[in-house]
């Protein structure tokens, strides 16, 4: 029954610039706007660059200088795996006495997955452990720089809103003091005479291992070698950590830590820690036009008591486009206990007494309840039965400044009521 817990089964609707349906685990919650946000309605900003294999942090200026590649790590040109350095002992003449030979270490690069070695392309073994690739003139970069000049994008633009493409090359600039020379590229000239194909073009047998695949070729766009013996290893691409920012209120929704080895966040306003989550627990056999009871669970992520009301979608609701079944939700308000991390250790705690209607609430366990909804499939086709309803809950904004009230000594943040549109995919009809 683990398939019922798949994230795509329950999706929440996000009303942003676009209406997006997405599972709650992939959404963020802006607690200043009190709205759900998805990845498409936030602005993404690069926080830091790091290499995925040596986990070395790199400031963005240095990253730009090295074309977003790590200096120490290499990728196999054949299978794109990370290359490792291996050492062999070779006899080499001693510098003092040419007649005697001593064992010296020679290093070469090797891939553990496809067994490619740097000797395959003719790279000599180096005596220094870290093999630096000599800088090759980057024809691609020159081309981009020229187009930049041509279209007036040379100066760094202000931070752009999403929607407009951010030019990653806008920050590239020449060193101070150098004039910005305009490089003239001559347009290609069409020729009448073309070099003829070699005579053995049709008769020469193809050596398939020597031909590179398209993927191998295009990973090196400046050379695009057709033969496998010209495939040189490339420096490894850097990955980046990004932070997300709400577009309306400019607050950060997600900010990771700077250290590449740490997976924690400085700011993590994810939706699952603020919005109650609906999950499917069990589905009976669904039959066309027959009412069946589906068991759902509702989990309360916050530490205060939450009141949840479910409302079925009305006729003509513009959000309700996917449902293929009628749903009857419990009319009473459901009360969820707060999440208490220490509850399992506290033996003296009295179980809270909620008057639960056994027709509605199946079970209750700390901050989770199971409840029934009635589903009547309306369509006989083979598609999944989809139901949707609105969930209305109270939300206490702990981030907002609490206005000191003269009457009460305790300042409890006021609760606001939020409504979300939820869609569930219940699977096909039973036959």
């Amino acid at each position: 029954m683990a398939s019922l817990l798949q994230p795509n089964r329950v999706v929440y609707l996000v009303c942003g610039e676009k209406k997006i349906r997405s599972p709650l685990s992939q959404l963020y919650f802006c607690r200043y706007c009190s709205e759900l946000r998805s990845l498409e309605c936030v602005s993404h900003e690069v926080d830091s660059h790091y290499c995925p294999s040596c986990l070395e942090n790199m400031p963005s200026a240095e990253a730009k200088l090295k074309k977003n590649r790590c200096a120490n790590c290499f990728d196999c040109p054949c299978c794109m795996h990370t290359l490792s350095t291996r050492a062999t002992n070779i006899p080499a003449p001693l510098p003092d006495d040419p007649t005697k030979t001593a064992m010296k270490k020679a290093y070469y690069l090797a891939c553990g997955f496809c067994r490619w070695t740097s000797r395959d392309v003719g790279m000599a073994d180096k005596s220094v452990e870290i093999i630096y690739q000599e800088g090759q003139p980057d024809r691609v970069l020159v081309f981009f720089h020229v187009t930049q000049e041509k279209y007036g994008l040379g100066t760094r633009l202000q931070r752009q809103r999403s929607g407009a493409p951010i030019s990653s090359l806008a920050g590239l600039s020449l060193k101070e003091g150098e004039d910005q020379k305009e490089i003239n590229i001559e347009p290609a000239q069409a020729l009448d005479e073309v070099e003829p194909l070699p005579e053995d073009c049709y008769t020469r047998p193809i050596s398939l291992p020597e031909v590179t695949t398209l993927r191998q070729r295009l990973l090196q766009p400046d050379f695009q070698p057709a033969g496998a013996s010209q495939l040189h290893p490339k420096h490894k691409h850097l990955l980046m950590k990004r932070s997300l920012r709400c577009r309306k209120c400019e607050h950060n929704l997600s900010k990771p830590e700077f250290n590449p080895t740490s997976i924690k966040f400085k700011i993590q306003l994810v939706a699952v820690s603020y919005i109650p989550e609906v999950r499917i627990m069990s589905i009976p056999n669904l039959r066309y036009m027959k009412e069946s009871q589906v068991l759902l669970t509702l989990t309360n992520p916050v530490e205060t008591i939450t009141h949840v009301t479910l409302v079925a979608c009305e006729e003509g609701d513009s959000d309700d486009i996917n449902s293929t079944a009628k749903v009857i939700v419990p009319t009473k308000e459901l009360v969820l206990a707060g999440k208490d991390a220490a509850a399992e250790y506290d033996e003296l705690a009295e179980p809270q007494d909620f008057q639960d209607d056994p027709d509605v609430v199946a079970f209750r366990k700390s901050n989770k309840i199971g409840f029934f909804i009635k589903v009547i499939p309306q369509k006989e086709e083979d598609e999944d039965v989809t139901v949707s309803f609105k969930i209305r809950h109270d939300f206490r904004n702990l981030a907002a400044p609490i206005r000191p009230s003269e009457e009460s000594a305790e300042a409890v943040p006021e609760a606001i009521w939020l409504t979300h549109h939820v869609e569930l995919s219940l699977g096909p009809l039973a036959n």
């Binding site: 054949c78 299978c79 997955f113 496809c114 067994r115 490619w116 070695t117 395959d120 291992p209």
Partner: protein, 192 residues
């Protein structure tokens, strides 16, 4: 039946320098060359014919080398001649691999959980990557590497090195922790 089984067991010939752990399962007419190491829980089963294993091979745990009947032939049908499976020198059969290839040359490496079919002939220096299933009917050219989920192939310029260091280490360490199988002399007719 007991006598037949004794005779079968006596047909396992283990050369003097080989290290074959007692927990390995060796059935049928199997010859194992010198300096070969067979780990515990390895299985070498000669059902449909004898198996001859050369020197310097490394057969790791849960590897299965089996000379079995082809699928559409019943064991009792007539006219089926037993074919010998030959394995050369310096091969490595990594953990959990299955090899049914009838002819394996030298210096090959069959990586973990790879599956080599009966109609494949490995020459020298071939590497069958982890979890690759090769069940075509062909001769794999020398120095071929088969890797990846799509069984991509490429040719490498040098053959894989023989695992002499590993073999020496194992031949020293394994007898400290496991009992070894010795070959039974053909003249004795008693139970082992």
């Amino acid at each position: 039946v007991r006598l037949a089984r004794q005779l079968l067991w006596q047909r396992v010939k283990i050369a003097a320098g080989a290290v074959v752990c007692v927990e390995s399962e060796i059935r049928g007419d199997v010859t194992i060359g010198a300096r070969t190491v067979v780990h515990p829980k390895a299985r070498i089963i000669a059902e449909a014919g004898p198996i001859v294993i050369g020197e310097g091979n490394l057969i790791e745990e849960q590897a299965l080398i089996i000379n079995s009947y082809p699928e559409n032939i019943m064991p009792d049908s007539e006219g089926v001649e037993p074919k010998t499976m030959t394995i050369g020198i310096n091969n490595v059969f990594e953990v959990g691999c299955v090899s049914q290839a009838l002819k394996i040359g030298d210096n090959n490496v069959i990586e973990s959980k790879a599956d080599v079919g009966r109609n494949v002939i490995l020459t020298s220096g071939c590497i069958i990557g982890a979890f690759c299933q090769v069940n075509t009917c062909e001769v794999i050219p020398e120095n071929t590497v088969i890797y990846g989920s799509g069984c991509m192939r490429r040719v490498q310029t040098e053959r894989p090195q023989p695992q002499t260091l590993q073999l020496d280490f194992l031949m020293k360490i394994l007898p400290n922790y496991h009992h070894l199988k010795k070959t039974v002399k053909a003249s004795q007719n008693t139970k082992n």
